[in-house]
Subunit: 218 residues, 2 copies
């Protein structure tokens, strides 16, 4: 029964994500999704345990889109600066269609108890996939990143990516160009500033951030 079942699942996810884009998160009620998909409310819940789970689905699809775009863009970027810039910009590209829904998305995702929280166990798959993009960006860079940082850098950059996302949600400039400018301006500073991590105090702070980020995942 996997075929029909998977069809229904895809139908619900497809309808929901389209409605998220077109009419926003609040107006996309579970009843509206069910009606649009031609099924009952309870049936939608058979496939997605909560409305948050549909956000999780969105998170997965956006992340897959990001991975595809990043892989393409990283082909002709060798130094860390341009690789990082390409990674962040393609990430913004992938999120773009959902910008109007960003506030609700982040409100859902930031709650520590939410399955959608990018630090939580329920998001392990999506987070690891997202982290892999940064691992690739850092790992294949020439010249290579400083040895001392190499293992933690992808994770730190991923945290920066989360911060950029937060900035992006609040950015109402046309096409979120302000976030683009922030990325363009901040990336060279970050890559040039990597040497700062050698300062003992800075390193300790970074360690704190990393271990907190890890401990949240429980």
């Amino acid at each position: 029964m996997t075929v029909k079942s998977e069809q229904t699942r895809q139908l619900v996810a497809g309808v929901a994500l389209r409605m998220f884009r077109e009419i926003g998160f609040a107006k996309t009620t579970m009843r509206a999704i069910a009606a649009e998909a031609g099924i009952s409310v309870g049936n939608a819940y058979y496939y997605f345990a909560s409305k948050d789970d549909l956000v999780q689905e969105l998170y997965l699809q956006v992340q897959a889109e990001h991975a595809a775009r990043a892989a393409e863009a990283l082909k002709d970027a060798t130094d860390l600066t341009s690789r990082l810039r390409a990674t962040l910009h393609t990430g913004l590209d992938a999120m773009a269609p959902y910008h109007r829904f960003g506030g609700d998305f982040i409100a859902t995702a930031i709650r520590p108890t939410s399955p959608v929280n990018p630090f939580a166990a329920g998001s392990t798959a999506a987070r690891e996939a997202s982290l892999d993009i940064f691992r690739t960006a850092v790992g294949a860079a020439k010249p290579p990143a400083p040895k001392k940082l190499r293992s933690d850098l992808p994770e730190l950059l991923w945290l920066c990516y989360m911060a950029v996302t937060l900035f992006w949600v609040y950015d109402n400039s046309e096409g979120q160009q302000r976030t683009r400018r922030l990325v363009d301006g901040a990336v060279p500073l970050v890559t040039r500033g990597l040497s700062l991590a050698r300062i003992p105090g800075v390193g300790k702070i970074l360690d704190d951030f990393l271990s907190l980020s890890r401990s949240i995942r429980g």
Copy 2:
């Protein structure tokens, strides 16, 4: 009729905040608040337009508590580092009773459309009061902060305070000691790093953050 009216308002706010502390945000339903206060649901809504507005009330009270504690602690702190540290620690002290409720609080507050959003117009009073604490911390510091930064520094530090709050929400270490350590570690770095703002690139990034933060307030 201002007296009785104000009494009722205080009653609702008091009951709500106590219930937030004692049983958490989700279990503190509007019906439960009304029942506990001995009034009708609609009457609670006469004084607070939404449950979020009660969170706003909490924000105001926490901020007042912060102001009081900071004023006391800043009495015997002269250099910027210790003044900043005192300001951040007293902020954490004021929030402490509500830590278990932090996730819900931040999920409410981070939504750009929420009246509780610390960047939004509805929070102007609370935000300005909070900013004033940082203005005092910076303004009376000896030796004084670099001229170039003096006008923007309180706002930047307030943004750091928001970031620390975010960290604190996710911090489940005993008594949130990890956040305390973060503050102790990060503050000297920040004060020592102030000279970095002279680097043109860094200055531009900071400007971007500030103007975004300002533009959100509409």
